[in-house]
Symmetry: C2
Subunit: 408 residues, 2 copies
């Protein structure tokens, strides 16, 4: 009987659409920044749905919501979930798919009166995006003590409002914490947020790792000079060095296996057509699934920038703003995802996640993995983000069967 | 007697210092934006000094001030001058040196009771900088009809004030025009605004040409993409193409003789560390003293940008914002400058002006040339702009003797 079990695609899409009405933007996107009134309404929707499905609901002090379906035995939970907070101009899929998908799995099990050995938990983590309060993945970090509650509560947004104030204002947290919740395995269904599945015409991404991440900001100082009156070899052009960094990022991406290097932000000062730039600020986003290669990329970059700046007589300083090590997911959990996709007949491929997810935090403590479904055009964090109902259905079915296998 | 004639360095410096008190900034610079109250006061100072030196003063409808010293014969003027308007945070030398220097020449001739064959005129052109009202060199353009007065008066500043309103408000213009003023030759003493003379340890730059100038703005459109989730070869990175343009500008400067190419302004959007830039805006400032080479540089640049954008699947459009042809100064006038510098024993070298000056507009109609004196560190359009009294004196002495030769 369980082997033939399938989620209800229309119901899955319906609940996703209902959630997308909360914080809806006029242009089709949503905005539910962490700990805002809209985020609270979104989480209320999730809590209500958990209760209507008969789950035992608990909320912790950072606002993570956990709904538990009893198993035949007590013992560690098999946990599935994601988040429902969003960036400022978000689509309707990022995060929501993992929570709504897990709840659809519960309803499917309820309808079929399937009993699992282990209890199954559905969790909605607070503030995954970090768009309002840094760091991102705050809820999953607090979940098992990777971030102290007091530290998290003290973080402030651009308006000077702290996490603590925002949580207390929306009345979302409780006095519980989840530090004694035991987890057998964690699975997260998520949109890919990149173009790989679509380009390869695949339905399911079996996520085996999350790239490590380093963010570096370079501050370059040369000298202003008149564009007409100053010979090239007498210039100290901060903009020239900045541009060389952009080009070198591309070189790094080709030279180091698995490397992605991106300059998304570059600013010049005074930024005038006929004045050589005195100052430049350049960020570099480095990603690699291999920790050693990520370190190598960082070293190569710093060496290149130092040499290029020296040759141009530009001074350079840098800060490492973020450094997150790569994560390898648990081979057994990944194997269950792979097996479920194969048993269900979906075209699947192994993937490395480029973006950060709650699953990588959970993976520090528990066996974990992720399931990706395609993002049309690779677009995410944008109101035009889209994944078809068919692909969502496939992802939820893989989640269902991988959870069943893990909960046996 | 005239061969031994020298300007009075202390008096030259004194009047320059007096002028610098008008519109003085707290940090040592000055601000006399065109047609402002401060610009009016600066021009009042020049007019008063002309009258005190016995010059016949005329003002035209755009606010150019002409003071004429009689010659033994009537006939075309030998004209010297520059401008006293400034950019927003200017030094004390740019422009002022040419007007104050020419007036010092007049006082030197008066003191020595030297009579010239041709009359000598001193002119302060209105709005050379174009910092408030575009185009720059407005006064010299209107002087002989290269720009129509009505067109000039209709130009507006950022606050919506027109040139006409600003002139009428400060009460500076008259109902004259200078279209029938005949000019035998025009000479302009100016600071170099670049580092060449200082680096070569020269006192006098004999300016034989002004570079041609082309300003191009490129607008690039790719697609936003997640820095972690998007493989390099699936990106359409507008920032990557923008940086390639910066690098290619340097290449052009090395490959084409006499070429200077500068990217002073580059902006990305959305300009976020982990998002591939969808939009980029890049300006390129191209200069060359040779018209054909300048055209070649422009063609090479457009071809490079088109090919690079195509390879990255980024769309590109461009506008040519300014195109000013190079100017060759009159060999005879240049020769007089060279001869005067040699006779006076100053170390001199031939130079091409990188910046634009009133002299290049005058050169369209009359024999013209320029005399450069060193700018410390090549710095200009900055409150730290500096030229020593000794160098100013040398420049004014060259102006004196070149004018005497031309006015014989």
């Amino acid at each position: 009987m369980p082997a033939r079990l399938r989620v209800n695609a229309a119901r899955l899409q319906h609940h996703l659409d209902q959630l997308a009405r909360i914080g809806a933007l006029p242009n089709g996107g949503v905005c539910r920044l962490a700990f805002s009134a809209e985020d609270k309404q979104g989480r209320d929707y999730i809590e209500a749905r958990m209760r209507s499905l008969g789950l035992a609901v608990q909320i912790d002090r950072i606002g993570n919501i956990l709904g538990t379906r009893r198993g035949a035995r007590t013992g560690p939970l098999v946990l599935a979930g994601s988040h429902v907070d969003t960036v400022g101009t978000a689509g309707r899929f990022d995060g929501s798919v993992g929570v709504i998908g897990a709840l659809e799995v519960i309803e499917t099990l309820n309808d079929a009166v399937v009993s699992t050995g282990h209890p199954i938990g559905v969790i909605a983590f607070a503030n995954e995006e970090g768009a309002r309060f840094v760091p991102d993945m705050m809820g999953s970090l607090v979940f098992r003590g990777d971030l102290q509650l007091g530290d998290a509560r003290s973080r402030v947004d651009r308006d000077g409002v702290s996490v603590g104030e925002a949580i207390d204002r929306t009345g979302y947290a409780s006095t519980n914490d989840f530090t004694d919740v035991d987890v057998r395995a964690y699975l997260e269904l998520h949109i890919e947020q990149g173009p790989i599945l679509e380009n390869a015409n695949m339905t399911i991404g079996v996520v085996e790792a999350v790239q490590g991440l380093t963010w570096i900001t370079f501050t370059l100082t040369g000298a202003t000079a008149h564009a007409g009156a100053t010979p090239i070899d007498m210039r100290r052009d901060a903009g020239y060095v900045a541009a060389a960094i952009v080009q070198y990022a591309r070189t790094l991406s080709h030279e180091i296996e698995g490397q992605r290097a991106t300059v998304g932000s570059l600013s010049l000062s005074p930024n005038i057509v006929n004045v050589v730039a005195e100052h430049a600020r350049v960020t570099v986003d480095l990603r690699n699934p291999d920790a050693d290669r990520l370190t190598m990329a960082e070293e190569h970059l710093l060496r290149f920038v130092a040499a290029t700046a020296l040759a141009e007589r530009v001074t350079v300083s840098h800060t490492v703003d973020v450094r997150v090590p790569p994560v390898r997911f648990d081979p057994l959990v990944v194997g269950h995802v792979q097996d479920a996709a194969a048993a269900l007949g979906y075209r699947s491929m192994r993937l490395v996640s480029g973006a950060g997810h709650d699953a990588q935090i959970l993976a520090r403590k528990f066996p974990a993995a992720m399931i990706f479904v395609p993002s049309r055009g690779g677009i995410s964090h944008n109101v035009t983000e889209f994944t078809s109902t068919t692909d969502l259905e496939a992802g939820a079915n893989v989640l269902l069967h991988a959870l069943l296998a893990l909960a046996e």
